[in-house]
């Protein structure tokens, strides 16, 4: 048990104190957005399967998704799906087709581009979802 805690501490210390700038932050954000999306995905597959297994419960779960905390969570979920996708394409393309681009300078730039593309795609989506939340949950005029 001690070794498990030690191992956890060592890995977490590595995650947090490694000073790899763009590459380090891209890695951490990729993991966080991936794990966050997976957590939601597990809940989402199960609740959507209620449409078949327990139709009367489906309305209740949808009601939960319509609540303000979940709608705010949804805005972050969409950020996660966009960032994980854009950054993932960066990794996949370089790994499989452009390995000579695995250089520090090139990937610093690619990472900045990935973040920029994410924000450009996310802002309009976030605006629409935030507006929808104000309209449906706070009675703002549509």
């Amino acid at each position: 048990m001690t070794s498990l805690v030690d191992s956890f501490r060592t890995t977490m210390r590595g995650y947090l104190t490694y000073r790899g700038r763009e590459g380090h932050l891209a890695f951490l954000l990729h993991r966080l957005t991936g794990l966050g999306t997976l957590l939601f995905l597990i809940i989402h597959i199960v609740d959507t399967s209620f449409v078949y297994f327990a139709p009367h419960l489906y309305a209740e779960t949808i009601e939960l998704y319509r609540s303000t905390p979940f709608m705010i969570g949804e805005i972050f979920l969409v950020f996660s799906v966009i960032y994980h996708g854009v950054n993932g394409v960066r990794i996949a393309v370089v790994d499989m087709w452009l390995p000579h681009k695995w250089t520090l300078t090139a990937q610093k730039n690619w990472t900045r581009w990935a973040v920029l593309i994410t924000i450009v795609l996310w802002l309009p989506a976030a605006f629409i979802m935030f507006r929808s939340m104000l309209v449906h949950n706070f009675g703002f005029g549509g």
Binding site: L38, I45, Y52, G88
Partner: protein
């Protein structure tokens, strides 16, 4: 001085980790149209306030959307669970413990995937039969 622009090619015998590595990249690329279309329609264009039981039943009455959702389920969840397996290996180092975690995640993946797939395939038919 060697430069990092020199790429060394190595033949790798296909094994589980090698296939999983490729799976993460190919499924990831497939998920750009699949997951992004799903999110664009459900979260942004339609919105959670317009989604209810009827909406899902109508959607799954279409064979095209059934195929779309099955593909999305297969690619997204297997990608995510293998990702979790990779993250867990950063913390779990023993061969036995890794094997146990892998099997646990595999069973979880199988059960939840089956739940999702059964719902996608059978929900619309079941609903029509009960009308």
């Amino acid at each position: 001085m060697t430069t990092s622009s020199q790429v060394r090619k190595v033949e790798v015998k296909p094994n589980y980790e090698n296939v999983a590595w490729k799976w993460m990249r190919y499924s990831g690329i497939a998920l750009i149209p699949l997951a992004w279309t799903h999110v664009l329609i459900k979260d942004i264009v339609v919105g959670v306030h317009a989604i209810d039981l009827e909406y899902v039943i109508v959607q799954w009455s279409s064979i095209g959307w059934q195929v779309f959702d099955i593909l999305l389920l297969a690619f997204a969840f297997a990608h995510g669970m293998n990702g979790l397996r990779q993250v867990s290996f950063d913390f779990i180092h023993g061969a036995g413990a890794r094997k146990a975690v892998s099997w646990g995640l595999f069973v979880m993946w199988l059960v939840i995937s089956a739940m999702g797939a059964i719902a996608i395939i059978a929900a619309a038919q079941n609903h029509l039969a009960n009308l």
